[in-house]
Amino acid sequence: MTTQHVSLTVNGQPMEADVEPRLLLVHLLRDVFGLTGTHVGCDTSNCGACTVHVDGRSAKSCTVLAVQASGSEIRTIEGMADGATLHPLQQAFWDQHGLQCGFCTPGMIMQSAWLLEQNPHPTDDEVREGISGNLCRCTGYVNIVKAVQQAAGQLSASESAPVAAAATVDAS
């Protein structure tokens, strides 16, 4: 079994490991780095429970090899809160009852965060389309949409919305 060295930044912290090239990014995060907030739900990139940001773009970490992500900046649910202060999306999911079992929630929050970075004032339909790669079995999505809208209001009001890390996608 050959291994390759990966080094990447996870939630601002440099991290590295020697991994089998076939290791999935989600398993690197969960099993090697102990960041178990990112979940595996479907294995076939349908459910989005494993959504994280890779260089500012939301990605399904069960469909990315760890070696592919080497050199990247990763953001996971564990990197959303600022110390004891919840990210506005985390607060909004709590306020609006946007979660029940909580299993899809980290992926849903990460995808919503990316969505609001792209589109700070989405319509409800745009929110629904924006989270269409994430499945929730509990909530029926109504309160998730409300939560994303609450956070959209707060993020734009505070003008604290992070600028999309578009470095890798603006070459066109």
Binding site: Q4, P21, R22, T44, G48, K60, V64, W114, I131, G133
Partner: protein, 292 residues
């Protein structure tokens, strides 16, 4: 679902990638966004010995219009394409395709080159590239060649690209006045592979006659196909539902669907006809509204 063992390299240049493909022919498989390939690797339906990741190969993701073509780099993501200003301004049919592939995460990472080279029989890009008479640019160690889309999609997961070549870009004829395109697909739910998908491009002259058309169909045959009989049926006709329905019937007659979880054969044929009509309607609106 756990991939079988594999090896991985990330060449820094196209030449290096090509060299690896030659050295490891039969083992190497190119990796672009990975959203089509990695699920198959996890299911162990594909077990490449070596993945050659193109992410560090520079210069493959530009989107630009030249005098005669719209050129899209192979590593442009569906989202890059969807958001490209030139495409938003001038190529609404491409916006249809790029905005409807998979889901947002897939569009963030999936690339046009990866999708086209993967050649899933239900994928979206091939339908449009066939309709548009696009060419696919392939680079080997001996140089570059352009393969017309209509000769490219050979079979299920099988294209005209050689195992030692890299798909570097797509060339779509530059849109002219009176030309419009559209893509319509039917999916069981958002993000699904198309039950059927039809791309249509029409060229309408100043007198209001269809002087050229392209119809590409996906999801209903071993590989996407150009509905040449439908194109013939449209030639010289005035745009309108009668002509579109005739074209739809012709496109449907060329399909070779199988009965499966997406529906029976006659349903899929009927959907090809229906989607052809809808795509032609929209393409016609766009053609009539575009003055170059």
């Amino acid at each position: 679902m756990i991939p079988a063992q594999l090896d991985y390299v990330r060449p820094a240049s196209l030449d290096e990638a090509l060299r690896i493909l030659v050295d490891r022919e039969g083992e190497a498989k190119l990796l672009s966004g990975g959203y089509s390939l990695i699920p198959l690797i996890k299911l162990r339906l594909a077990q490449p010995a070596l993945l050659v990741d193109l992410q560090s190969v520079p210069g493959l993701d530009a989107i630009a219009e030249t005098d005669d073509a719209l050129v899209i780099g192979a590593r442009a993501t569906h989202r890059d394409i969807h958001e490209s200003a030139v495409i938003r301004d001038r190529y609404p049919g491409i916006v249809d395709v790029a905005g409807g592939i998979g889901d947002p995460q897939v569009r963030n990472w999936g690339t046009i080159g990866g999708s086209v080279a993967h050649a899933d029989p239900a994928s979206d890009w091939p339908a449009f590239l066939l309709a548009a008479n696009a060419t696919i640019v392939c680079r080997g160690q001996g140089g570059e060649r352009e393969v017309p889309a209509r000769h490219f999609f050979v079979d299920t997961f099988t294209t005209a690209i050689e195992p030692t070549e890299v798909l570097t870009g797509i060339r779509i004829p530059r849109r002219a006045a009176g030309v419009g395109g559209a893509y319509q697909k039917l999916e069981r739910k958002v993000g699904d592979f198309a039950t059927a998908g039809v791309a249509a491009i029409v060229r309408i002259d100043a007198g209001g006659t269809i002087v050229g058309s392209g119809i590409g169909v996906t999801g209903v045959s071993a590989s996407p196909y150009a509905a040449v009989d439908a194109e013939s049926a449209l030639a010289g006709k005035r745009p309108g539902d009668d002509a579109f329905r005739a074209a739809g019937q012709a496109a449907a007659a060329m399909s070779q669907p199988v009965s499966d979880v997406r529906g029976p054969v006659d349903y899929k044929r009927a959907m090809v006809a229906e989607l052809t009509v809808r795509a032609l309607r929209r393409a016609t609106e766009r053609a009539l509204a575009f003055n170059g």
